[in-house]
């Protein structure tokens, strides 16, 4: 079973993130850039499937030069090789354009399974797997907390607000995973060394047969008009419990008419 794992480099969600004044795009220069946390779980799932069923695991990312660090990091967990889609014209691409580019690259690789994180911590669009499914005409099994593979039959438990759904499809398919699916491994020293030598194929828009005008800020299907900081919440009253903390809390709730 050949698997492609989609990986995205994002600004660290645990640190402060800002938009640039000039064009309202994410300021990726000042941010600490990391692998989208949820993607680690997709890589782990791919490696487990490879251990059980054989085949190759390829990491694919679309992003600037800087994303090469994230590719090496991903490879150090164990995947065999990587594809880096990189083109200056891609900066500022919307989800629609991103999915068109990824779909073009996936068509060439023709994998049995495409794995990705259930959402990216920056855009939180959660729509790319279904956009890929729509473009490639293959099934999308999204929001998985469990994935089993039996021959070409894929079964996932999809997390829902009410509980979960069991969804079945035939490969090839796109599967997106939540962080409940497994516990990602840490790269070993050997893995980190090996990653330096693993092949990384760079693809440009020309390689994929996509016009620069269809992507990036120029081809975006939506645009940010303006942005501003939200006034931070200010702290209110803070008391130290001196045996009456619970009673004081209830008094507060009563004063605010909650009880």
């Amino acid at each position: 079973m050949n698997i492609v794992v989609l990986v995205k480099q994002v600004p660290d969600s645990g640190a402060e993130r800002t938009l640039r004044e000039s064009d309202h795009t994410v300021d990726r220069e000042v941010a600490d850039n990391v692998i989208n946390e949820m993607d680690d779980y997709a890589i782990e799932e791919a490696l487990r499937l490879q251990e059980a069923h054989g085949g190759e695991v390829t990491v694919m990312t679309m992003g600037p030069q800087r994303a090469a660090e994230s590719i090496r990091k991903a490879l150090s967990m164990g995947p065999d090789k990587a594809v880096h889609i990189r083109d200056d014209a891609l900066a500022g691409s919307c989800a629609l354009a991103t999915s068109a580019v990824l779909a073009a690259a996936l068509r060439d690789l023709n994998p049995d399974l495409v794995l990705c994180g259930a959402e990216a911590t920056d855009g939180r669009v959660q729509a790319v797997p279904h956009m890929l499914s729509e473009r490639l005409g293959i099934a999308a099994l999204t929001g998985a907390r469990k994935l089993t593979v039996d021959g070409s039959t894929l079964t996932v438990e999809r997390q829902t607000d009410e509980g979960y759904e069991v969804v079945v499809a035939q490969a090839p398919a796109v599967v997106s995973v939540w962080d409940t699916i497994n516990e990602p491994r840490y790269p070993s020293f050997k893995g980190i060394m090996a990653a330096k030598k693993k092949p990384v194929t760079e693809l440009s828009l020309a390689d994929l047969g996509i016009e620069p005008s269809e992507v990036g800020a120029a081809g975006a299907s939506s645009a940010v008009v303006d942005h501003r900081g939200r006034p931070p919440r200010s702290a209110g009253q803070k008391i130290t419990d001196e045996g009456d903390g619970g009673a004081k809390l209830v008094e507060f709730l009563a004063s605010e008419k909650f009880v």
Partner: protein, 320 residues
């Protein structure tokens, strides 16, 4: 006036709150029309309530395929409807399924997509709160009509001044083979008892690592029940197995925006704040006076939750 399509989310005949919010918003933008997609009989079960919130018409796609396959058939039906009625805007809930349907429709129609909006003006400008609530963005589609997903709890739903009695019109659409590739074979509801739905509750009481164990979470539940609230948890609490994952609040969990949020033994990491900081009133109990959660708490108690919470429960009981 042009129609604004609202894609309805419901569970067993009860409309999700985000649907009522979307209808309330749609009334300001044009003529609200509801789109009901599900098993046969779904539209009839929600028609009255949709009418109360101002839906003048219901477009329905009801079939075994719509109900039995993941998302694709719904996207096919919605795209077909959009092409037929040329709406002023289309609203979906910013829920997993809402976002997925919207993504597919965006590809089918090559139309821009506005995700997780908290408001939409009649000129098509959407408001979004991003980066854990720190930044407000306004944006627009540059191709097509505003196709947007509304974040739950963005506005207070209100019934229409005059209820409508919507007529049900079936949507004409066809499915091809690629629409029925992901079959839903089972739906499993996990018990959450009589508590309100986390994302819709007006009171949420959440526990974190400080709660210490699954058994101790009964304390969190007790307080939630006395306040008629839902129970939430931090990721440290769900990862440690104290509470089921579906109750996680935060960036990779649910976004809640209740009238009252009580955080017990939660430090207030930025990823947790992302899911709760638009709550109206925030109360925190934490034994660490420096915990960042206090920076946004309207009322904070520095103390041990195992003494403060039982006393709170007792005081609330006394008041009846």
């Amino acid at each position: 006036m042009s129609e604004v399509l609202v894609v309805v989310e419901q569970v067993d005949g009860t409309l999700k709150k985000v649907t009522l919010e979307m209808l309330t918003l749609a009334r300001e933008l044009g003529e609200p029309a509801a789109v009901v997609m599900g098993a046969p009989g779904t539209a009839a079960s929600v028609a009255d309530k949709l009418g109360q919130y101002g839906a003048t018409r219901i477009y329905a796609a009801e079939s075994e395929e719509i109900d039995g396959y993941l998302v694709s058939p719904k996207a096919a039906a919605l795209a077909a409807l959009v092409s037929q009625v040329q709406p002023a805007a289309v609203l979906l809930g910013a829920t997993q399924e809402g976002k997925e349907i919207a993504g597919r429709v965006a590809v089918k129609l090559d139309n821009g997509l506005l995700t997780d909006i908290s408001g939409l003006a009649s000129d098509g400008t959407a408001t979004q709160v991003v980066f854990a609530g720190s930044t407000i963005v306004t944006s627009k589609v540059t191709r097509g009509f505003p196709l947007a997903t509304l974040r739950p709890n963005s506005l207070t739903p209100s019934p229409a001044e005059e209820a409508a009695s919507p007529e049900v019109t079936p949507i004409e659409f066809t499915l091809d083979k690629s629409d029925t590739r992901a079959r839903i074979v089972e739906r499993v509801a996990e018990a959450k008892g009589a508590r309100p739905e986390l994302t819709e509750a007006s009171v949420v009481v959440s526990g974190g690592r400080g709660v210490g164990s699954a058994e101790n979470f009964t304390l969190v539940e007790e307080l939630a029940d006395l306040l008629g609230g839902a129970v939430g948890a931090s990721r440290a609490a769900t990862d440690s197995g104290f509470y089921p994952h579906q109750f996680q609040v935060g960036q990779t969990g649910k976004t809640v925006s209740p009238q009252l949020y009580i955080a017990l033994g939660i430090s207030g990491a930025i990823q947790h704040r992302a899911g709760m900081q638009t709550s109206k009133t925030i109360v925190a109990v934490n034994k660490d006076a420096e915990a960042p959660i206090f920076e946004l708490a309207d009322f904070g108690v520095i103390g041990d939750l195992f003494t403060v919470v039982p006393q709170t429960v007792e005081e609330l009981r006394k008041r009846g």
